[in-house]
Amino acid sequence: MKSLLTFPKGGIHPPEFKTQTQGLGIEIMPVPDELELILGQHIGAPCQPTVGKREEIGEGALIGEVKKGLGVPLHAPVAGKIKDIGNSVHPVRVSAPSITLTVNREAAAVRYERQAWQNLDAAELLTRVHDGGIIGIGGAGFPTHVKLKPPANSPVDTLILNGAECEPYITADHRAMLEYSAEIVEGAKIILKILGIKECHIGIENNKPDAILAMTKAAEPSSPDASVKIRTLQVKYPQGSEKQLIQAITGRKVPAMALPSAVGVVVQNVATAKAIYDAVVLRKPLYEKVITVAGKGIGRPANLLVKIGTKLKDIVDYLGGLQPGLSKIVFGGPMMGFAVSSLEVPVTKTTSAVLFLTKDEIDTKPHSQCIRCGWCLDACPMGLEPKEIGLHVEAGRSEVTEPFGVFECFECGSCAYVCPAKRPLVQFVRLAKMKAKRPQ
């Protein structure tokens, strides 16, 4: 038996909590009366609205675009009327510019037809990706068309699709791989064509055997031009982090402060591949996505296909309301997601899950002083020294934390997870990143 792929250093094994939703099929959530579309959903410059107040628009219509700088356009998820262009509650930033859309329930749903893409050239495909408003919807929100145009000095030879989904609770990608296997594989092939390369690996953690099976079938390994390979990964957090995934699959190490393209690799989430398929083959822009709603704090956990801009309160209403004992609402996974304080927050392109965690699911103990057990050193997949960063930040000496590797930290939270003193190490790192001087 072949030993499973993984990265060698660090990592943790948090409980998975996936049973709640992993058996539930993707459920299409009815469109609520009102959507709140945040203009800056991606990394880069936020969109400028291209529509006016009280304007009537159709489903998939362009409502915002980026004229200057890095970014992708924003589309209307449904037909409706622009109610307002103002500010909305934002999950991370407290508030952000947004467009409020009142749904027009009379309008007929748009039907998308499959179009041949094999004859198009890479540039055209790339334009379609851009026009579809595709960003890395695994969580980072980096505009995909930029990622698919790697710098000339570092040629890319491998594409990796990330189906690891190592965060506890989340099963959205798992379900997507089961239900959209063919689309994902086709999306991968589109990306391969854009990049002009032949090799694609889809990494999936061992705890999703059905997804591995489905994807392997879709990849048609027996066909002569099989370029997409399914790789089974060991269950370990943070397996889904770019650098760790690349090391697990290719054995290459992405240098500190560098992008995967430095070692000739492009990484995309499986959900992004599906979105690329939609944008290129169906010419359907990215305006809806699969999210996992789980936790003991919600009436009915589910994998939902929701429109971008759906507010949390609508989801809560749809899924049976909040449950007693709810203590924390987390956007994203429990390891790297962020807690929100309001149900007014809308779903964005990068939302992969909304977790309603009760008291017994999270740790609410106050933190104590560092006892230098060094467990965080063992847990850190990057080989950093979280304890030193924490101690320095606590002493008000954030400026000198660079030697301990603050800027290499991608905030996976492994250190804080294992810390017996329950120290908020990730928060310390974030503080340090603000104060310390970045090397060049």
Partner: protein, 314 residues
């Protein structure tokens, strides 16, 4: 990098002083002679000898060098299996701190072979070094040089620079002081001028190191020059000549003492600096901030160094 070169020279110099007396050992019938136990002397010979002669107790006389009239009572003499080593067993425990003189008659046909048995001189020298470095560490057990110790032990780099400069100045000034003490002060009965002469020599050394460094290696000077000023007004450096004058050390012993003292100072500074880097992160009660806490930490170090007390290496 420069410091590495310097350290290498120091090590080479130390090696020279250690090896030189070794090479001076005479060759002959007796290859090696040591105290092998509390009541035992073992002699290794270059060739096989007659068992009958070698095992006759009457053929040996052994006494302490200072007491030639007191012959020590021998219990037995045993020749090893290869006939090349003799073990002398005594009736009473020997005072291994003293040099013993052994005279053997008729061994290997030689009428009379006389040799001295003492604890290895190298070991003794090394003992002085270790003593000054650890057992009687100048900072933690002799409480010297505290001002500089507390002043410059905040950063590791400073501590290292300071320690190295100290060691160099200490060795040079100690050797010079030894020379002055033995060839000028003692013969002319001017011992009461000790203090003036020693402090003058220290200042001179500092000035010389300053000038030489400035010319020869400006880079090194830039990194270490600042510490030179601090060296003069420091008791640790003047203490070394005073101690050697007190104990009548010879030049090798002086060198070892100075090297050990300097090394010990470097060690103490380095330890303290690494600790105080950590201390700066701690929440110290406000009244203890700064020197008081440094003193308490130094006290804890001194307690740990009590572990070395009574250590006798050779």
């Amino acid at each position: 990098m420069m410091m590495l070169v310097k350290i290498r020279y120091i090590v080479l110099a130390a090696l020279f002083f250690v090896v030189a007396p070794l090479a001076a050992q005479a060759e002959g019938l007796i290859v090696d002679q040591t105290f092998s136990g509390k009541k035992e002397i073992t002699v290794k010979l270059s060739g096989a000898v007659d068992r009958k002669v070698a095992e006759n107790v009457g053929n040996y006389t052994v006494f302490e060098e200072a007491d030639p009239d007191i012959i020590l009572a021998l219990g037995s003499a045993t020749l090893g299996h290869d006939s090349k080593s003799v073990t002398l067993q005594f009736k009473a425990p020997l005072n291994t701190a003293k040099t013993h003189v052994v005279t053997a008659q008729g061994l290997a046909g030689i009428d009379k072979t006389t040799f001295k048995v003492s604890k290895s001189y190298l070991g003794y020298l090394f003992g002085i070094f270790i003593s000054a470095l650890l057992i009687n560490n100048f900072v933690f057990t002799k409480y010297l040089g505290l001002c500089v110790f507390f002043g410059t032990s905040k950063k590791k780099s400073t501590a290292k620079g300071m320690g190295v400069v100290f060691t160099v100045v200490m060795v040079v000034s100690a050797l010079m002081s030894w020379f002055f003490f033995n060839f000028i002060l003692t013969p002319f009965n001017l011992n009461f001028l000790q203090i003036v002469v020693f402090i003058g020599l220290v200042s001179l050394t500092v000035q010389a190191v300053d000038t030489v460094l400035r010319k020869v290696n400006p880079i090194l000077f830039n990194s270490f020059g600042v510490y030179l000023v601090l060296v003069i007004a420091n008791c640790v450096i003047i203490a070394v000549p005073l101690i050697l004058a007190n104990n009548n050390y010879n030049i090798f012993e002086t060198f070892m003492l100075a090297l050990g003292a300097g090394g010990g100072f470097l060690l103490a500074l380095y330890l303290m600096s690494s600790v105080s880097e950590r201390l700066q992160l701690a929440k110290i009660p406000p009244t203890f901030k700064g020197l008081p806490i440094a003193f308490i930490v130094a006290g804890q170090f001194a307690m740990a160094f009590l572990g070395f007390s009574g250590l006798q290496l050779f």
